[in-house]
Amino acid sequence: MSDTPLHLGVSLDGAGRHPAAWREPGARPDELFTAGYWADLVAEAEHGLLDLVTIDDSLGLQSADPFAADDRVDQVRGRLDASMLAARIAPLTAHIGILPTVVVTHTEPFHVSTTIATIDYVSSGRAGVQVRVAARPDDAALLGRRTFPADRDALLRELFDEAADAVEVIRRLWDSWEDDAIVRDGATGRFVDRERLHYIDFEGPRFSVRGPSITPRPPQGQPVVAALAHRAEPFALVGTSCDIGFVTPRDAADARGIVAAIREAQAGAGREAETVHVWADLTVVLDDDAAAARDRLARLDATDPCTDDARVVAGTPAELADLLVELGEAGLTGFRLRPAVLPDDLRHITRGLVPELQRRGLFRTAYEATTLRGHLGLPRPADRYATADTAGSHS
């Protein structure tokens, strides 16, 4: 493993992953709703040559309770729509991949597809999407079109099945225009060759979508689809439908089990030949001095304890690099780091961890590709609707 380079991304959310992050001296909690704040963060991530940033989102207001709304006033509340933010930031960067989080429960797969395609255009091929479900009844009440079954396991099965259908629709719509559908043929007067536009005719229990998209095939063909996965249903979603799964192993043994579950789902979907990345999420508190990092985490936790779904790591960049190598041997292909405090821990990643990994020959020293798929080693895929007849007839 040690000569296989690692992939690295960061997850950006508010003032940082830690609930007490906004109270740190370097935090900018009164700028969370300005473009400048996010532009600075993404520029810093790009400075560190990271593969991608993800931008967190949810339908409703944040809550410390994962199953219900709360009325706390001592944590960051309020967030911008992540897709709008991604589009706003994309023209200011040149290399880094940008993945807004998008809820696919309640929302229209058609709009999600054109939104992400548009971000792909705006970024010249650097868009992706982290799909998520919204299982809370208070989220459903914001849209008011659906009531949920009481049994939580049944609900999650239903929502992840629906998410897989949504991704299928989103992907078919991206392919619904062949790359060379626009012909601008003066001789026949046709702008577009309708033989290269395709109905997608998806029919599922929650929605049917006819197509084609209103947006031509995006620069990457298929922008990158990712999902955060903690249990069997989302492992299956990653295996069948995604390019990256973000997972939350406790340790290397746990990571092995998760990777195996995803690989099994991938094989079950007939995708053995495709690259599906499995990255571990880690919340990080970093300092050049290990004790200082641990003290800082203790101080943050004393203010407001962090109950994180991902493993929380406090230490030096070198210690973190050791851990990434160890976990990498369990079959993970990369990591999405959640800076506990923004911008502090992001800077420790870009200016501490990245040089450390570069010294070990484990991370790129310059961007080598121009698209997000390129950074991830994913080829530009053929269009599923292209026939031998239409594909390549332009060349």
Partner: protein, 454 residues
């Protein structure tokens, strides 16, 4: 003499035959560089806003996707969020359907764009409602004719309730005391009307404009009433001075009933133009553009839209068909689907009669006639001549300004910005520079608390 000020907006070239795609200078309709180019031109010319139309299903005619016009567009809100990154003052107006979305999502997007642009977001509320487009969406699309403005009104009111759910002073973010929010109920809303039954807390804090600027496009009596009650501007298609004046008078007189003054609703017709160094040159150019816009095939397709029949066997250089238009009720599928204009010819038999008389009088072929009855430029002339015509419209109360629809992407506004705008500025009928930062400022709209903010 101080002249009446006009408002100007740029319509990004759309997906109908107004946009000429066959010229050497015709560029991409989808690459971001094209949007950035036109937005920068509009901002250089101190325009109020850039405007994007929306269509959520590719148009079809005679059962096949329509292939003669430019087709393929981005998601409006998303592309405008990106345009915010390459402009500083220009308003950003997205057409977003009130049928194929939910208020919570639209409110989040608009409030987010408003934050990310420093107060420049606008929403053109359209009520398109056909089953055909509904086939792309979960909710389907069908709304009875009478229900769509009810839904639009409730949709708009709900979006405003959502963005008003934060007053603007809730975020304290005091690191020392640990108080982030002053108010544990920030963003709380509860809406129970017949189209929407939603409650909870809205997730986007109050944006710089508070509410997005609201535009409306729709021409029926209900559409006009909806605009009078709720919109800040109307996008219209009334071309002539007289038609414009009639529309202007009709809409402005509706405002009093809602306690609104005449300057709170701007009337902005879609406007095309052909510029030349001399009047003769401009007219020649105008004729050439119209010839490009109405090819023989396009002329037949237009005729089919009114006749509601497949007429592809006809010769566009020949006469109108003997057969009459096929009249169907408003909700039945038509030969052409996915066009807002399909319902423009409300009385096809009368239109056919009028066109036959016109063709007979002028000995016109199908293509000649279609070139005459569609897509005539609003203004044809020298830069000074066009400036004078525009001022006349504004001074004689046919409009409060214009939404310019260039025929070339993305450079179709460059000449206008470079040659007409300086004349308007010199004559004092258009701003020499922005005086405010938000779109509400540019449009001179009343401060929000004068309206119904809770």
């Amino acid at each position: 003499m101080s002249r009446r000020q006009m408002h100007l907006a740029a319509h990004f070239p759309g997906v109908n035959n107004t946009t000429v795609w066959s010229e050497p200078e015709s560029g991409s309709q989808i690459e971001f560089a094209s949007f950035a180019h036109m937005a920068r031109t509009a901002e250089r010319a101190k325009f109020d806003f850039i405007f994007l139309a929306e269509g959520l299903r590719l148009r079809e005619q005679n059962g096949a996707i329509y292939d003669l016009d430019v087709v393929g567009r981005p998601d409006n809100a998303t592309i405008l969020a990106a345009v915010a990154a390459v402009t500083d003052r220009l308003g950003l107006a997205a057409t977003i359907s009130s049928t194929f979305n939910e208020p919570y999502e639209v409110a989040r997007r608009l409030a987010s764009i408003d934050h990310l642009s420093g107060g420049r977001a606008a929403w053109n509320v359209v009520t398109s409602w056909d089953k055909f487009t509904g086939e792309n969406f979960r909710r389907g699309g069908y709304l009875a004719q009478g229900d769509r403005y009810l839904r639009a009104k409730q949709f708009l009111d709900t979006v405003m309730t959502l963005v008003d759910s934060w007053r603007g002073d809730e975020i304290v973010a005091d690191k020392a005391t640990g108080e982030f929010l002053r108010d544990a109920g920030a963003g709380r809303f509860d809406v129970a009307v017949d189209q929407f039954d939603i409650r909870g807390r809205f997730s986007v804090p109050r944006s710089p404009q508070g509410r997005p600027v609201v535009l409306q496009a729709g021409d029926s009596d209900e559409g006009r009433e909806f605009a009078a009650a709720s919109a800040d501007a109307i996008f219209t298609r009334h071309g002539s001075l007289e038609a414009g004046q009639a529309f202007y008078t009709d809409v402005k007189r509706r405002l009093a009933a809602y306690g609104r003054s005449e300057d709170q609703l701007k009337i902005l017709p879609a406007t095309t133009f052909a510029l030349g160094d001399t009047q003769a040159e401009a007219e020649e150019r105008g004729r050439r553009i119209r010839r490009q816009q109405v090819s023989g095939q396009t002329a037949l397709r237009f005729l089919e839209q009114v006749w509601n029949r497949d007429l592809s066997h006809l010769d566009p250089d020949g006469p109108l068909p003997e057969i009459d238009p096929l009249v169907v009720d408003a909700d039945s599928p038509r030969v052409s689907q996915g066009r807002a204009a399909d319902r423009m010819y409300r009385d096809p038999l009368a239109t056919a009669k009028e066109w036959r008389e016109r063709a007979a009088a002028g000995n016109l072929s199908i293509r000649d006639l279609m070139t005459e009855v569609t897509s005539r430029q609003s203004f044809v002339g020298t830069p000074l001549g066009i400036a004078e015509q525009m001022e006349r419209f504004v001074e004689q109360r046919a409009s409060d300004g214009f939404i310019l629809v260039p025929h070339i992407t993305p450079g179709g506004l460059d000449d206008f910005a470079d040659r007409v705008v300086p004349i308007l500025q010199e004559r004092g009928s258009f701003r020499a520079d922005y005086t405010g930062t938000t779109l509400r400022d540019h449009l001179g709209l009343a401060p929000l608390d004068a309206r119904s903010v809770v």
